[in-house]
Amino acid sequence: MAEPAAEGLVLRLEGFEGPLDLLLELARAQKVDLARISILALVEQYLAVIEGARQVRLELAADWLVMAAWLTWLKSRLLLPAGTAAADEGGAAAEVLAARLAELGAVRAAAAWLGARPVLGQEVFARGAAEEFVVTDRSGLVLALPALLRAYLAALRRTAGQRRYRPPVSLTWKVQDALRRLGELLGSLPDWSSLERFLPEDTADPLARRAAVSATLLAGLELARDGALRLRQEEPFGPILVGRAAGAAS
C-alpha cells in the first residue's frame, strides 16, 4: 500500500477537479471504506503524486501545492508519538480531512444516483407539442385616476413650455453690479467699513453669496487701482476694509 500507483495519476492530473478529488481517488484505491482509510498513507501517496508531477512539468496550480504543504504539515504531526499536544492536533486535522472526503464521497454518490435516474429529455420525454387552452383576453382597460392626473399635468406642461420661453434668471452678482453698488454706498457707509457690508442684501444661498463676495472684491480692487477707494487687510484671511480715496473728503 505504501508504494503508490502514482505514475498513471501523474499524467492525468488535469482530469481531477482539484486536490480533494485526487485524495478521494487515492483513498478509494486503498480498497477499504473511507472511515478506516489510513490518512498517513494517503498523505504519502498525494505527496508522491505531486512530486512526480513536478518532475514532469514545473508549474502546478497553486491549490495543488497549498494542499501539498498542508499535508506535509499533517504528516509531521501524524508521525509524532501519541499523547503530545502536536500529535493530538494532527489527529484532529486528520479527522477533519477524513470527514471532508466522506462528504465528497456522498456528493459523488448523490450525483451518481441522480445521473442514473431516467432524466426528462434524455430517457423519458414529455409531450412534444403541448396544446394551449389558455385564451388571453386583452379587451379590458386598466384605468386609474393617478394616471389620468399625471397625463393631464404632462399635457399642460408641454404646452406651457411651448407658449413662452423663460430665460433662466441669473443668481450671481456680477462685477458690474458690484461696481455700481460700491459707488452708491461708498459715501453713505462709515469710512473703513467691512467689504461684506457692500454685498447685495438677499444672498442667503451660499453659492450666490460666495459669488457676490468675489465680485465685490474684484470691483473693489479695480476701484482701488483707479484710486477711487482704498483697501486694507490687517492679517491674512482677516476682514477686508474699504476706505474712501486718500483725497476724498468725508
Binding site: 387552452f133 385564451v135 386583452r138 379590458g140 382597460l141 384605468l143 385616476l145 397625463a151 399642460l156 406651457a160
Partner: protein, 180 residues
C-alpha cells in the same frame, strides 16, 4: 418486436414529437416486415373515445384532445391593456375642460390628435360627442361619459381633484398672467 411493442413505441414516438409523425418515420424504427400504417391505425382505434385521441393530420399522426373536452379545458385569462399616453392625455383634457372641440384639445396638448386616439377613446366608451360649437364649421364638442366616471370610480365630475390642487406651479395654470 411484437405488435404490442410496436404499438407502445408508436404511442411514445407520436407523443414526444413536436410535429405530426409520418408512417414512414415510424417505419424507420420498426422491423421491416411490420407495417407502420397498420400499427398507427390499431393505436388510433384503441385511443378512440379516450380523453386524448390519435388523429391523422397533414403530414402524419398527432395526439389531440377530444373535441368535446376542449371547451371544459379552455381558460380565459384577462390581461387588461393600458391606454397609450396620448389617449390618456386627451381623456384628461376632455375631463377637465369639457365640452371642447378637437382643435381646442390639440391646442391644449400642444400636439395634433390622431384619429386613432380619438377612436380608441370612443370605442372604450369613455368619451362621446356632445353637440356642436356654434362657430364657423360647427365643430363637434367632446365630453366624457358615465362609463368614464364608472371606470375611474368617480361619482360625478365634481369628484375630480380640483385643478388648483394639481397645478401648484403658477407657470402651468395661467400662462397669460406671465412672470414669476
Amino acid at each position: 418486436m411484437t405488435e404490442e411493442e410496436a404499438i407502445r413505441l408508436a404511442e411514445a414516438l407520436v407523443f414526444a414529437s413536436a410535429a405530426p409523425v409520418s408512417a414512414r418515420a415510424l417505419a424507420a424504427l420498426l422491423p421491416e416486415e411490420m407495417a407502420a400504417e397498420t400499427v398507427l391505425a390499431t393505436l388510433a382505434r384503441r385511443c378512440a373515445g379516450r380523453g386524448v385521441e390519435l388523429v391523422e393530420v397533414a403530414g402524419g399522426w398527432q395526439f389531440r384532445t377530444a373535441p368535446d373536452l376542449a371547451p371544459l379545458l379552455r381558460k380565459v385569462v384577462e390581461v387588461p391593456r393600458r391606454l397609450p399616453r396620448a389617449a390618456m392625455e386627451t381623456l384628461a383634457i376632455i375631463a377637465y375642460h369639457q365640452p371642447l372641440t378637437r382643435p381646442e384639445i390639440e391646442a391644449m396638448r400642444g400636439a395634433s390628435l390622431a384619429q386613432a386616439t380619438l377612436e380608441a377613446l370612443l370605442e372604450a366608451g369613455l368619451i362621446a360627442p356632445r353637440g356642436q360649437r356654434e362657430s364657423p364649421g360647427r365643430p363637434t364638442l367632446w365630453a366624457t361619459t358615465a362609463a368614464f366616471l364608472a371606470a375611474f370610480g368617480l361619482g360625478s365630475l365634481a369628484d375630480l381633484p380640483k385643478r388648483e390642487d394639481l397645478l401648484l406651479e403658477k407657470g402651468l395654470v395661467a400662462p397669460e398672467a406671465g412672470g414669476r
